[in-house]
């Protein structure tokens, strides 16, 4: 009996040590909706901080869309990803080892956000006619999902009856409206607000949704290492985050898995637009 106990204690100690050592090379997938240059710029301070504090080496894995990130999680080539709520919910549906650890705050200090439908002030929104809608990406929360919900709830219109296409980013969606290529754009409110200085106006907005989070792959990272990463990120003061700039400029908070409950609905999102 004593022998068995010693063996268990030893095994536990050995395992803990191994876990504590953790993975040294972390593959990080930033948002696919932004350019790799932009992503690198925005995540550079926080990643450097983690690299230094936890003696890690963080490698950027730039994926073209959310589908690639989900695949990366599944095949173990991505350890951490920066994901919006819908991609996370989609990932969680297919891959139970995804877990949000911190949620990023927005400029208003909240970790939650809204999706909006925006248009250029000069353009007329005639609901009786078919119009073109610019979307971000299939798995973007503010993309097909929330745009469809908002059109239905605010204007009693079905997105499926309109022409739509994916422009791969919120900014692209908004700019394509600005260029006159589309009438409406579905985007994150904070981004749409920035484009108000270009004559864009928000014509519909959603309820608060959980914000973007860092989602870890619990299959490739140990609990201990996940905890270390989470604690390290939460230990930084908001003042320091502000100084760093980039993605953490507004600070972050611990992620709450329950915030995603409202998004666990049945939905079928077309992977491609209906404009050829």
């Amino acid at each position: 009996m004593i022998k068995k106990m010693v063996l268990v204690v030893f095994s536990l100690f050995f395992t803990t040590t191994l876990i504590a050592n953790g993975k040294k090379n972390i593959n990080f997938a930033p948002l696919p909706t932004k350019s790799s240059v932009q992503n690198t710029k925005e995540f550079l301070p926080v990643n450097r901080y983690l690299e230094k504090k936890l003696s890690l080496k963080i490698h950027y894995i730039h994926k073209k869309d959310y589908r690639d990130i989900l695949d990366g999680f599944k095949n173990g080539t991505i350890d951490i990803a920066y994901l919006g709520p819908l991609p996370f919910v989609s990932l969680k549906k297919e891959y139970k080892y995804a877990q949000p650890i911190v949620t990023f705050k927005q400029s208003n200090g909240l970790a939650k956000y809204r999706c909006v439908i925006a248009k250029f002030k000069d353009d007329k929104f005639d609901k009786t006619k078919q119009f073109k809608v610019a979307l971000t990406q299939p798995l973007s929360t503010c993309g097909y999902l929330m745009t469809n919900i908002l059109l239905k709830s605010k204007f009693n219109l079905e997105l499926e009856n309109q022409k739509y296409n994916y422009t791969m980013s919120h900014t692209n969606a908004l700019l394509s409206v600005l260029k006159g290529e589309y009438l409406l754009a579905g985007a994150k409110k904070s981004i749409a607000k920035k484009h108000e200085s270009l004559g864009m106006e928000i014509i519909a907005q959603s309820e608060l949704l959980p914000g973007f989070s860092l989602v870890v792959n619990t299959k490739t990272l140990s609990k201990e290492q996940i905890k270390q990463i989470q604690n390290s990120l939460l230990s930084v003061s908001s003042k320091e985050y502000k100084q760093w700039g980039g993605i953490t400029v507004n600070g972050l908070e611990k992620a709450n898995i329950d915030d995603y409950n409202s998004l666990h609905v049945d939905f079928k999102i077309p992977q491609k637009g209906n404009i050829r």
Binding site: V37, T40, K41, L44, P45, R48, Y60, F120, K121, D122, T171, L175, L178, K179, G180, K194, H195, E196, S197, L198, G199, M200, Q243, W244, G245, G246, V249
Partner: protein, 637 residues
């Protein structure tokens, strides 16, 4: 000789080192010049690219200025409310974004409108980012909106560095602001790559310049340059070029070699364009640093180009060959010098022997052309008491100045008008007459026989042989022949030899010759009474008395026994008589040893030059006879 060989070696070595150093410096200069051509090529290419962009920017600017709708938006914008400005900004974007997309294809990254007061009106690369003031850190914007003139140049910003072309937008005297076209280095690099395909290009910025204006949070977008921590590059994760260069082994190798080169940091910090030619493993490379100036005219970084540079190897080899040839020449020169030293040493030994030979000569030997000295032997200096020729020449011009003017000796007065110099004059004399006299340092006078031999075209070897002793001996013998050994008065030999010349001398002086013939009275009794010794003494005394009472030109001759003749110059017989009488009285009154008193009898004549002198002598003798017969101690004429 060893010393000379050593000296020659050091001279050749020293000159070789100087030549080597010169060649090394020349090589460095030639390499630098060659490298500067590459730098010039990069510079010209860069300028051409920037000029091309300038043309594109100007064309685009004019297109905007001609776009009435755009100008209308901008005009309205200046005075519109904030809300209206937002709408107008959107309209401007919608109106011109196609232009921007076209410009992007031409590698122009930014189309940026500024307000008249230097705020961002619309950035086409980041349209929602607007309204921020640029005036404090964008010199070009400030200059354009102050001077209303276009500005072009490299300039930093809050995010990036790039080449900016900023134009003022003046519409009917109303400043609507400015428009900027900017390109990042990636655009330039792409075109540089096309023009110089064998080079890799990157850009480095001076860190303190970058950090001066850039947003604090953007500083991490820059990394220390591999060249120096005073310079930085855009983070390789956000710059394609930096990333490309980072993984380029060739570039990394050249960066390392550049840093190892002499004065690299000094050149880098100097901020002026420079080159680093590199030769490694017989392969040539070049790294050029083209200085970039911003719109403030300050150097802020470099366009760095890496390439192969085989020409430098050829140039280096060429110079190395020159140096090797120079080395061979130095050896050859040293051998030549060694040969010359040996030969000179031989000649010197020969000369030394010759000099020694000449020096040990008892004669004075000189080498002269009659005016200037070339050489003089030791005897010369010993004789005159000079250390060397230089010292002698301080006091004299020619040895001939020392020739004493004495009868029978050659001196400068004997040089005739038609003769060039004393040498020629002496040569014209017979050997026997080439006798000169000089005073030595000890104030003694010496006689020399001069022999002259031609040395070369101009010079003669003149040998002065001391014949003083020989001459004295000769004179002594001559004296012995013409003088009476007892009384030292002249004898008959002298008379016979010189009487004619004496008479001629008197005649030449317009005088006649007088003859006084006298003998000692009762001299036989003196000899008989007092002995021959006393008799001889009497003769000597008589001669001395007479010599003391005749003139220097008068000649006393012992004619024989106790008979004497005096040859003298005279105008008339009375003069002769008076002189004879005077002598007679002197003798009469002289107190002779032992015999007390003696007298002499005198017969005198005045010789006529037409007559035979011996006849005149006979006449004088007859007159003497008469004096003897008439009581002695008398003068009969």
């Amino acid at each position: 000789m060893k010393k000379r060989f050593l000296l020659a070696f050091f001279i050749v070595f020293f000159i070789s080192v100087i030549i080597y150093k010169y060649m090394e410096v020349s090589k460095e200069v030639a390499i630098e010049n060659l490298a500067n051509k590459t730098l010039e090529t990069v510079k010209v290419a860069n300028e051409a690219i920037l000029d091309t962009y300038m043309v594109v920017a100007q064309k685009s600017f004019l297109d905007i200025m001609k776009n009435k709708e755009a100008m209308k938006i901008l005009e309205e914008f200046k005075y519109a409310s904030q809300e209206r400005k937002n709408l107008l900004r959107g309209r401007l974007y919608r109106l011109l974004y196609t232009n921007y997309e076209l410009l992007q294809k031409l590698s122009i990254r930014q189309l940026h409108f500024h307000t008249y007061d230097g705020k961002s009106l619309l950035r086409f690369d980041l349209p929602y980012k607007n309204g921020d003031s640029l005036i404090d850190f964008r010199t070009s914007v400030k200059m354009v909106n102050t001077n209303f003139k276009a500005v072009a140049g490299f300039e930093g910003g809050r995010n990036y560095f790039g080449y900016r072309y900023v134009f003022p937008m003046i519409n009917q005297y109303d400043n609507l602001g400015s428009v900027e076209f900017s390109i990042n280095f990636e655009g330039v690099e792409k075109k540089l790559q096309n023009i110089l395909p064998f080079h890799t290009h990157m850009i480095i910025f001076e860190k303190k310049v970058v950090y001066k204006h850039i947003f604090e949070k953007k500083k991490n977008l820059f990394l220390d340059s591999s060249f120096s921590n005073k310079y930085c590059v855009e983070n390789y994760e956000i710059s394609k070029i930096t990333k490309k260069v980072k993984d380029n082994k060739f570039v990394n190798k050249l960066i390392k070699l550049s840093k190892d080169s002499i004065d690299f940091n000094k050149k880098l910090c100097n901020k002026k364009s420079f080159t680093i030619p590199i030769i490694k493993d017989n392969k040539g490379y070049i790294v050029t640093f083209l200085s970039i100036k911003n719109t403030d005219k300050n150097e802020i970084g470099y366009i760095v180009s890496f390439g192969e540079f085989q020409d430098v190897v050829e140039l280096k080899n060429r110079y190395n060959n020159f140096i090797f040839i120079g080395f061979l020449v130095a050896i050859f020169v040293y051998i030549l010098m060694a040969i010359v030293i040996v030969q000179v040493e031989k000649i010197k030994t020969e000369s030394s022997k010759l000099k020694k030979f000449i020096d040990i000569q008892n004669s004075i030997v000189i080498l002269t052309d009659g005016e200037d000295f070339q050489f003089a032997n030791k005897k010369f200096f010993d004789f005159f008491g000079y250390k060397d020729l230089k010292e002698f020449l301080k006091d004299h011009h020619c040895i001939c100045e020392e020739f004493i003017n004495i009868d029978g000796f050659f001196s400068l007065k004997d040089v005739k008008a038609n003769e060039d110099n004393w040498i020629e004059s002496l040569l014209n004399l017979s050997g026997r007459k080439r006798i000169i006299s000089m005073v030595a340092e000890n104030s003694m006078t010496y006689a020399f026989s001069v022999s002259i031999n031609k040395y070369d075209e101009k010079n003669y070897v003149v040998n002065f042989t001391d014949i003083s002793d020989t001459l004295k001996e000769k004179l002594h013998l001559q004296e012995q022949v013409i003088r009476d050994q007892l009384t030292k008065a002249y004898n008959r030999v002298y008379f016979d030899k010189n009487i004619n010349s004496l008479i001629e001398f008197h005649t030449n002086n317009e005088q006649r010759t007088g003859i006084i013939f006298f003998d000692i009275d009762h001299f036989k009794d003196v000899n008989d009474t007092y002995g021959h010794q006393v008799g001889d003494n009497v003769l000597k005394t008589i001669v001395n008395i007479v010599k003391s009472n005749i003139r220097s030109g008068d000649k006393l001759i012992r004619w024989g026994g106790e008979e004497f003749i005096i040859i003298l110059s005279a105008d008339k017989i009375d003069d002769i008589y008076r002189r004879a009488e005077h002598i007679r009285v002197k003798i009469e009154h002289h107190k002779f040893h032992k015999i007390e008193q003696l007298t002499c009898s005198f017969g005198i004549v005045l010789h006529d030059s037409k007559d035979d002198v011996y006849e005149s002598i006979k006449n004088a003798d007859e007159n003497l006879y008469k004096a003897k017969n008439s009581g002695r101690n008398k003068v009969i004429l």
